[in-house]
């Protein structure tokens, strides 16, 4: 590698964004870069945090990183990696994995890892079933949490049943339960995921060794599940389109239709309308709990909370149904194709021994892959959208109590600050006085909102610090796609003509088109037919927009990134893991996406 001695900009060289010098007030002291952090490699986690992070949303870095490290470093004792550290600068999250390089320590950890990981790999399917039940339990719990009303006079039952505890107590207890459940959900999220990546990375790297030219997506294709839960929400929309046509109510689902108006009109359309509404109700639980984002920001709402995304996709599916197109995914064909590809590569191996090893590795990768593909629906989508919805209810209460001006303001406060605001409310209710919070938090919230707007304009460097000695963490390689090659690409990007962006060739083909650069999931409605989507990262629920676009480009993502998977599904070129496409490409520019080589060229 030509990486020797190369260094990306150092953390200490990053200057405060002018006009947002006070960004540190939004984040906790343990997220700040320290002087000694200059000696280590960090990369911008643009996959999960493409936008500046509001104070409350730091919970989606704080909690996941407490869970991931606990899993790899302490629970399963991965031999060569501890956990992931994170830092926030100018509102962006940078992370690094702490590798273990001492052979004696690796040896020692391996013994424990073998025993513990062996238990999970050995019982994977039944543990996964149990895992789903545990997640369903957590989802039930978060949905059931009540945000207490603070009545002028307590309910009589509290007295006559000798409860002895007033409602203001539950304000804090129930808020804490939300945070605690979120933490538990993330512990479960990582419970099987890191082992999943571990098993996949073994097969992946064997394939890369045996077939140096094999595209990443081909390795994924050999393992990929056919009945993937993340495809279900989109499949449900197709089903609803079919029902609409069958019931002759499809005329209501026109381009640009408004969800509320459609629902009202359906109710007036007799039996057909009722049937369609029943089909919709059936689809909504659980499939409309899918997030419009990937659950790392409070504004990633579920389809259930905001029907705009599904109702934007429906008219197109209705048109296709009318045109007699089959919207069914050809699952038998996909399955046969997956088997053929695996058999062909297997046959190209040079010895029976290699073929036997290949069978073992592929078998294990296929065992873990359903979890790797599907866990997100339970965690980041269903659980997390319910979590944020519950926090909003606390926001409503703080509005009613005069602490906040509007519900969404709660997300400008760190969860420890919400603790303070709730104490304020608990005290005021108890004393019969007014909470003081609006005077304290009012200016703070206004300033933070202003700073977040300013910070949006900052283009974070893809990486900071010296090139690392090792990239041991399987998630860093497989999920974030950070490999020696990625680093070389990013390093090379420091000095080309500025007209090319390089990344992974994620889905083959070459097309030209007009770029649509999205910096936030909320802008998804702006995408026009035939445009080329350029974004930090795509989420599974964006599948409907893939029906409109010609190609996809993302800042971050590896073999298993959703942009890659969905682009292949739709047969369009995709280049992922470019590091900085959203910085370099502007909406309206003509670009050529070369999904064969992994190059995006700005043509003008």
């Amino acid at each position: 590698m030509a990486n020797d001695g190369f260094s990306f900009p150092l953390p200490s060289q990053i200057e405060d964004v002018p006009g947002a010098e006070g960004w540190r007030s939004m984040y906790q002291y343990y997220t700040r870069f320290q002087p000694e952090d200059d000696n280590r490699f960090w990369f911008h986690n643009a996959m999960h945090f493409p936008e500046p992070v509001p104070a409350f949303d730091t919970i989606t870095s704080e909690v996941p990183y407490t869970a991931i490290g606990a899993n790899t470093a302490r629970l399963f004792v991965f031999p060569t990696t501890m956990g992931i550290e994170h830092r926030i600068v100018n509102g962006r999250v940078y992370i690094t994995a702490i590798p273990i390089l001492d052979p004696a320590e690796i040896e020692q950890r391996l013994a424990t890892f073998t025993e513990r990981a062996g238990h999970y790999y050995g019982n994977w399917d039944s543990l996964y079933e149990g895992w789903k039940a545990k997640m369903a339990g957590l989802i039930g719990e978060i949905e059931a949490i009540k945000v207490p009303e603070l009545p002028a006079i307590e309910d009589a039952d509290v007295v006559f049943n000798n409860v002895g505890i007033a409602q203001n107590h539950y304000l804090r207890e129930n808020f804490h339960r939300c945070v605690d459940l979120f933490s538990k959900a993330w512990h479960h999220h990582t419970e099987m995921l890191m082992l999943g990546y571990g098993a996949y990375v073994v097969f992946f790297e064997f394939c890369k060794q045996a077939f140096p030219e094999i595209p990443d997506q081909m390795v994924a294709r050999m393992c990929a599940g056919i009945e993937v839960i993340m495809y279900r929400p989109d499949d449900e929309l197709k089903r609803l389109a079919r029902v609409a046509v069958e019931q002759h109510v499809d005329d209501l689902l026109t381009e640009g239709c408004n969800a509320d108006e459609v629902l009202a009109a359906m109710a007036e359309r007799g039996e057909g309308g009722q049937r369609w509404l029943a089909a919709l109700a059936e689809a909504r639980t659980p499939w409309f709990h899918v997030s419009t984002g990937d659950g790392f920001y409070h504004h990633h709402r579920s389809w259930n909370e905001d029907l705009t995304v599904p109702f934007t996709a429906l008219p197109r599916y209705v048109r296709l149904v009318r045109d007699g197109e089959s919207l069914e995914r050809p699952t038998d064909q996909l399955k046969a194709e997956r088997e053929r590809i695996a058999a062909d590569y297997r046959a190209l191996l040079t010895s029976e021994e290699e073929r036997a090893a290949f069978d073992q590795m592929l078998g294990l990768a296929r065992l873990v892959f359903p979890f790797v593909e599907d866990h997100k629906f339970y965690c980041e989508h269903w659980f997390t959208t319910q979590f944020f919805a519950k926090i909003r209810e606390f926001g409503d209460l703080l509005v009613r109590q005069g602490v906040l001006a509007e519900t969404e303001d709660i997300f400008q406060l760190h969860h420890s600050e919400i603790d303070m605001a709730l104490a304020d409310v608990m005290l005021a209710w108890s004393a019969g006085s007014q909470p003081l919070g609006s005077r304290h938090f009012g200016p703070i919230i206004a300033e933070r909102k202003r700073m977040l707007e300013v910070l949006k304009g900052w283009s974070p460097p893809a990486a900071l610090g010296p090139v690392p000695e090792a990239l041991n963490d399987p998630a860093v390689r497989m999920l974030w796609g950070i490999t020696a090659e990625t680093l070389a690409t990013w390093a090379a990007a420091e000095g080309d003509d500025g007209q090319e962006v390089h990344g992974y060739a994620a889905s083959p083909g070459v097309v030209e088109g007009i770029a649509r650069v999205l910096t936030s999931v909320n802008e998804i409605g702006q995408v026009q037919d035939g445009e080329i989507l350029v974004c930090a990262v795509t989420a599974p629920s964006w599948a409907p927009v893939f029906g409109k676009i010609k190609a996809a480009v993302s800042d971050i993502g590896g073999a298993m990134s959703h942009a890659a998977i969905v682009a292949r599904e739709y047969g369009m070129p995709a280049v992922v893991g470019t590091g900085h496409a959203t910085r370099r490409i502007k909406t309206g520019q003509l670009v050529r996406v070369d999904g064969d080589r992994g190059v995006v060229r700005i043509l003008g």
Binding site: P99, E213, P215, I341, D344, D594
Partner: protein, 352 residues
């Protein structure tokens, strides 16, 4: 025209006939037999070479001249071989050889332009050292010209590089022989080479294709950077594609014989010389040839627009000869692979 005669048709020879048809001739015959697209043609076989050499050099003077050389005296080799080549080219052909070649040529059609290509006999390494388009004459037209170029091919057996190679290897001179392939000329829109494994990594799951506008000689001679395509044998997808700037091409000379260099029209220079369809079709042909031989191949091809033809196929030698340890062996349990791999640090600054 069966093997054994002075001349035999391409389809009459196969891989087993290297001693009479030379490596190239045998290989083309074999491709023909396997049903692969090869331009029609014939081989001027080794007996014709022997007959002609006996006539040109009845006293065995050539062998004696070479025996007097040493592998180190380059200037002496240059002088002696130039003289030998001049004698071979100038010597009148035995009538029965001239007649056999002329009849075979006329059987291809009237005044058909042909490629006249040397096809050396000998061990692989020796053949490889003679291989290349310097021993191939394109756009040859008319029986007289064909006969003339057949002699030039024979003479190329005595070019300085070949002779000094044989001297260094102490190869006996009386074993060397040269067949000549005469093949109907194709007028390629694009041409090039392909490897049925990756030439850079040895990956057997891909076919690597390089091509340029016009005749393949422009590419083999290194005069342009070719377009390059990597195609997955498994899915048929083009997994990598680099389209190069190709300012020059080789094509038929205006006077109708020989080749000339021309400029590629500006609008074509940075356009791919093959359509995706052609790239995939070539890769499929390459995979068929490999399956036929059971080992990776190095193939020359040409595309006319209507058809794809193969001009040569030989065994790929660099990667195929490598036999290493298996990359992995089965373990007691599948998960043991994970334990092994996750206990190995992944260094960013490895040996490579």
């Amino acid at each position: 025209m069966a093997p054994g005669g002075l001349v035999c048709t391409l389809r009459a020879v196969g891989a087993a006939d290297r001693e009479v048809a030379g490596g190239k001739g045998a290989s083309l015959g074999e491709l023909h037999r396997a049903g692969l697209p090869v331009p029609p043609g014939f081989v001027v076989a080794v007996p014709a070479f022997r007959r002609a050499m006996r006539a040109a050099d009845p006293a065995g003077a050539i062998e004696a001249d070479i025996a007097a050389l040493t592998g180190l005296d380059i200037a002496a080799i240059e002088r002696a071989t130039a003289d030998i080549r001049a004698r071979i080219v100038a010597a009148p052909l035995p009538a029965e050889v001239a007649a056999a070649v002329s009849i075979a040529y006329e059987a291809l059609g009237t005044d058909v332009p042909v490629a006249v290509r040397s096809s050396a006999v000998g061990e692989d390494a020796a053949e490889a050292s003679f291989a290349g388009l310097q021993d191939t004459y394109l756009w040859v037209r008319g029986a007289v010209a064909v006969l003339d170029h057949v002699r030039r091919c024979w003479a190329s057996l005595y070019n300085a590089e070949a002779v000094s190679y044989r001297l260094r290897q102490s190869m006996p001179e009386h074993d060397v022989a040269m067949a000549v392939v005469v093949q109907q000329m194709v007028d390629p829109r694009s041409a090039g080479v392909m490897f049925t494994c990756s030439p850079t990594t040895g990956d057997r799951s891909v076919v690597a294709i390089e091509g340029s506008w016009g005749l393949g000689s422009v590419l083999v001679g290194g005069e342009v950077t070719p377009d390059s395509f990597v195609v997955s044998k498994v899915t048929g997808e083009i997994v990598r594609r680099v389209v190069a700037e190709k300012p020059r091409l080789h094509r038929m000379a205006p006077e109708g014989s020989g080749t000339t260099v021309a400029e590629v029209p500006a609008e074509l220079r940075s356009r791919p010389c093959l359509s995706d369809e052609e790239v995939r079709a070539l890769a499929r042909l390459g995979a068929r040839v490999e399956r036929h031989y059971g080992t990776p191949q190095d193939i020359e091809w040409a595309v006319t627009g209507e058809e794809i033809v193969l001009l040569q196929s030989r065994a790929e030698t660099v990667w195929s000869s490598r036999t290493g340890e298996p990359l992995a062996r089965p373990k007691a349990r599948p998960m043991d692979h994970v334990f092994e791999q996750l206990s190995r640090p992944v260094l960013t600054r490895g040996d490579d």
